[in-house]
Amino acid sequence: MAKPTDIIKKKRAEAVSRIISKGYLSSKRVYVGMATCEIAAGSKEVMEVFKNAVTKGGLTDVYLSQKGCAGRCNLEPTVEVIEVGKNPVRYGKINPEKAQQIIDKHLKKGEVIKEWVID
Amino acid sequence: MDEKVTITINGKPYRVDLDQTIMEAADSCGYHIPRLCYHPKLSIEGACRVCIVEVEGMKNYIASCAYPLFDGMKIHTNTKELRQARRDIVELLLDNHPEDCHVCERDGNCELQRLAYAMGIRHRHFAGERKHYHKDLSSTSVIRDPDKCILCGRCVRMCSEIQGVNALGQAGRGFHTVVMPAYDMPFAESVCTTCGQCINVCPTASFVEKNYTQELFAKLNDDSLVKVAQIAPSVRAAIGEGFGLPPGRNMEGQTVAALRKLGFNYVFDTQFSADLTIVEEASEFLERVQEKGKLPMITSCSSAWMKYMEQFYPDLIENISTCKSPMSMGSALIKTHFAEQIKVDPKNIVSVAIMCCTAKKYEAQRPELMVNGMQATDIVVVTRELVWMIKSAGIDFLNITPEEFDSPLGMSSGAGTIFGVTGGVMEAALRTAYELYTGETLVDIELNSIRGFDGIKVGTITMDGKEIRVAVANGLGNAHNLLEIVRKEPDRYHFVEIMGCPGGCIGGGGQPYAAANSIPLDTDCLKARAEALYSNDRKKTIRRSHDNPEIQRLYKEFLGRPLSKKSHELLHTHYKPHEPRGIASRKIRAI
């Protein structure tokens, strides 16, 4: 019978391929903070904007995911954009309008919106 | 396990049993650590923090009631800091307690008062806001006064651990914590069985009986009325304690005399109606045995048990004897047969029961027990109330000349006497049932297997080759345990006796408070009260209920025979299920 360590190795490989099949290898990954605190600060609405952009707005080559709280309470909601080969960029205090701009400028044109970046 | 360890208390070494708490060890070494919430028959609460001690190597004080010993433990019970801390703790309790000691029910008999005195509290440091709640007067039997509550939790533990009723619990937080029935519903509507054990264990006057003495005094002064009293067996065994006597003195004659001095025209004995109960109950039992009626038959003398059963064991209603309690049988006779005899309109008779029991106040008001549209028992006063009525009327109880009961409801057998102790009803019933069934006299009438204070006792008796298995429970918690067996194995017992209070009626909720150097419901005290009744039984020439000539006369002249139509009319009753309010189903959800 397979050892637990072998089983977990297999499960891990399967998990990774499932994540990849969901588009993890897109050139950009977007993470929206979705803990209670972030939701209270408005991250659900922000998430909606990104979701809409991916499903209806023709935003392609983007992997969208939620994440937990990283601890930057005073800057929530936070949105993180990771581009392959570049430093990750984290935006703080994002609202739906700002989210739309992130889509339009950063995700579509590759322009980082410096004013909102958490330094 | 009798492993010994060496500990030191206040610098002196002692060799003691390992398997005990610091408090128990200190007690055995002659140190009485002050205490409040502790009660040896209840679980350890550790709430009051009065019994704190210092243990070397521990940074905090330790509640001695809760902490086990270890070898080499160095305990200090009386340092300067400890004395101040204990004082401060008791003072904190006083600071949130009404300052009305001299008009309080428990004045002179209050554990908090005694403790405050002993701690040397002569002035206050931290006075401030006090709690203020309303008294709950809704119950027929027990008054709840949260203002006087010091939250020791004894009543809560008593109600759940010993009585299994769970009528009380703490609610609220912090300063606003209060002991109350579920949802703060009126006591009368709660699952409270009115047993009054909360009163017995309460160190203050947060629980007291509902007092009917003023009403009674008024009636006693009314010359247009005929005042008739009956006294429960256990009252005479305990009333002396209310006058400073040690437990166990039978004060029957003194009580009769005192009641006459208080203005009663007739003083009868509930032991007489206990004999009557036995004849009826034994007959009912034999009928059930012979005619394959519902078994086991369960006794019905204890009023708290009646309510408990209707709430929690409605499925067993058919098993309950239909016999009224001795008090209600006596009152029914007083308002009918006796009224006829003395040719007085029963409306002009006041039937008063002197009981050891707060629940009898509830029983008296049960509509099922009405006789010809009248309440059979008009007023119930408990032993404690009678004590102070005697005192306030200026009667020298201790030096009074004992008197005899009136006739016809005054004569009793030894069987009626032992009703007051757990197992007594069963013993009395078997003495009669045996003879009725076999036609022979039971020689060895003291049934030791069902005597004593074990929670559940079982025994067997063989009648004409038929084995009769009996079980006896005292305290409603034990009743619960026994009835769970009955539910599962209905054939295991033929006859079951249940008494609602620990030890039976002698431990009733209306008995005198514990003496200053004693604890409530102390086993030695209960034993002494029991012995007062057993010795009375031994002294009697007539020890079987059916041999009581007054009982025989009553059947001849009035009732006809046991279980006759008349008997059923006057001496039997019925029960109905009661939805218990405010407590969850007993089934605890298993994980």
Partner: protein
């Protein structure tokens, strides 16, 4: 914005000893020489736990770790890695400690630089509702390792070796607790295996302003579950229970999903991962009583009773849930377990101080620029937390105190800023570690008022069982109210101390035993403020309303705005002339103060 490169130099004791200062100096020089100062940020980190390979230099992005770096290597690193973008293979080391991922992903170096994430290693990184995310980051590998290679005894030994202590507040050594629970039952009955045992996760986080447990469960529920399953294996339990506040609906939902997913994958249930070990986890919701964080009260609550503590011993490890031996640890403690197993207890024990190992999560709140959830190695000083991570006090205000350990912790003044955060040092300074609340207080706060606030909380949350806590804290609160209303006497301060020390020593549970801490520590450290309230009837922070006086200064231009705003007509004055407040009429509502456009009204 994030810079081109972030270089993290390990500033742990080991690397300091091995000369990381020289490396930093060399690095700074090289950056200057290559004109890279503006593109590269250097920061120091707490011990990264690779002391044997130190000094350690980490370069992000790319997460290249250089070990055994000497100053002579620096030019090559700068030349090759920073300028040409080619990591120096010769110096790079492969490390796969779980916690390190955090630095790879975040560029927010100022906030995260001094942090070290073990318990929160996945929080803010993975999708908590997707078990695949957790699996991809070696999730449940610790469990598999335990089931394959380790006996329960070895697991306990590993935890003991790690030096991990309970993160719920008391700091009891976790491994010892596990061992006691594992042995319990075997003492009472020789057939220990048949004895029922329980594992509980205490997620009843009730401190005001604390959100460590919530964030941990919301961000990474599986690590808590994995820890619990390992705990169950180690002590021989079959059932785990997470006791969590009903006020955390999202955390509860994610936990429920995590349990369901884990069950589907065979991490929970019968014959976990094909082994003969079976374990299940259930959730119980708490009704939001602070005292239910106390283990015996929590257990009573699970049993269906009113959450009230009972005296210990017996401890839950001997007699816990339903009278069975019970292993109860808090969320953060459980979250550390998979790391201890995978990265070894020995490695874990290299982090932190001599007696406090690993990291601690804090909810940093109050008057600090970066409020947030942080995790730092034990031994990080309060100053580093407040100034480096927290970014200092906003609006250039003065630091006054920091309150650690939740509502029952102590308030430490500036002189304790260099206190390292560990169980013993905080206790020595007069506060506690607690479960991880940390509230920064600035000059605008009145210490008497702060003490009153916390005491009000503990008094309201006292279960009401024991006298000292129920009645004593109420009397202390009465006295504090008296003082803040200007009715205090000097003996009141002594009475506070007398009551406070009695309550600490005589109370039944931890709540009462620590409730007086805020009062006692503020009397100790800020006695002058108490005396001002009592003697001078003054509150220097201007917080205690009843002690305030509002006065109009010469700045007044006589606009009349204050006069109009005053609800009790206490202000008189003619137009364009200085107005006056009648102190007898003034109710100190502050309406005039906020209306004045010329800063002419002052609070005294």
């Amino acid at each position: 914005m994030s810079k081109e490169y972030i270089i993290t130099i390990c500033d742990g004791t080991g690397c300091i000893q091995k000369g990381n200062a020289a490396i930093r100096k060399a690095l700074e020089q090289q950056l200057k020489d290559h004109n890279l100062t503006n593109d590269v940020r250097i920061n120091l980190s707490g011990c990264l736990g690779m002391c044997d390979k130190g000094p350690i230099v980490v370069i992000n992005p790319g997460y290249t770790i250089y070990g055994n770096v000497t100053p002579a290597d620096i030019p090559e690193i700068v030349e090759e890695h920073l300028v040409r973008g080619q990591p120096v293979a010769r110096l790079a080391i492969q490390e796969d400690h779980l916690y390190n991922r955090f630095f790879r992903i975040f560029g927010d170096a100022k906030f995260f630089g001094k942090q070290m994430r073990i318990a929160l290693r996945n929080c803010g990184i993975i999708d908590p509702e997707n078990i695949d995310d957790y699996l991809s980051l070696r999730g449940y590998e610790a469990l598999a390792k335990v089931l394959t290679d380790m006996t329960p005894k070895q697991v306990i030994e590993e935890v003991k070796l790690s030096g991990l202590r309970g993160r719920g507040g008391a700091g009891f050594p976790t491994g010892v607790k596990w061992q006691l629970t594992a042995r319990a039952g075997s003492l009472n009955s020789p057939r220990a295996a048949s004895d029922e045992k329980y594992v509980i996760c205490n997620a009843d986080e009730g401190d005001p302003g604390a959100f460590m447990d919530r964030s941990a469960i919301e961000g990474d529920p599986h690590t808590v579950l994995e820890g619990m399953i390992i705990g169950g294996y180690a002590i021989g339990a079959k059932q785990g229970i997470v006791y969590i506040r009903a006020e955390y609906p999202l955390a509860v939902r994610r936990l429920e999903k995590a349990i369901a997913d884990a069950r589907e994958h065979g991490f929970i249930g019968k014959n976990i991962l094909g082994s003969d070990f079976s374990f299940d986890i259930d959730i119980r919701l708490g009704a939001g009583a602070f005292v239910c964080g106390e283990e015996t009260a929590l257990i009573r609550s699970i049993e269906g009773g009113r959450g009230m503590p009972r005296p210990r011993p017996p401890y839950p490890s001997v007699e816990g849930l339903f009278g069975k031996p019970t292993l109860i640890n808090n969320v953060e403690t459980w979250a550390n377990i998979p790391v201890v197993i995978l990265d070894s207890g020995k490695w874990f024990s290299t982090i932190g101080t001599e007696r406090s190992k690993g990291t601690k999560v804090f909810a940093l709140a109050g008057k600090v620029v970066n409020t947030g959830l942080i995790e730092v190695p034990m031994g990080t000083t309060l100053r580093e937390i407040i100034y480096d991570i927290g970014g200092g006090i906003p609006d250039n205000k003065e630091f006054k105190a920091v309150q650690t350990g939740g509502p029952s912790g102590g308030c430490l003044p500036a002189k304790y800023l260099d206190t390292p955060v560990d169980y013993e040092s905080l206790a020595k300074a007069g506060s506690i570690m607690g479960s991880g609340g940390m509230i920064v207080i600035d000059q605008d706060s009145c210490m008497v008022d702060i003490a009153k606030f916390f005491l009000e909380f503990t008094q309201n949350e006292s279960c009401g069982k024991c006298t000292p806590c129920r009645e004593g804290t109420k009397r202390m609160l009465d006295i504090l109210i008296k003082i803040t209303e200007g009715k205090g006497e000097m003996y009141d301060i002594e009475n506070l101390k007398r009551l406070g020390s009695m309550i600490k020593k005589a109370s039944l549970c931890g709540l009462g035993q620590s409730a007086p801490n805020p009062v006692l520590s503020t009397i100790l450290n800020f006695r002058e403020e108490y005396e001002e309230h009592v003697k001078d009837k003054k509150c220097r922070a201007g917080v205690c309303k009843k002690l305030l006086t509002y006065e109009i200064t010469d700045k007044c231009v006589g606009c009349g705005a204050c006069k109009k705003a005053c609800p009790v007509a206490a202000i008189t004055g003619t137009a364009k002339a200085k107005h006056v407040i009648d102190q007898n009429k003034c109710i100190k509502c502050g309406a005039c103060f906020s209306k004045c456009k010329f800063d002419a009204i002052i609070k005294k």
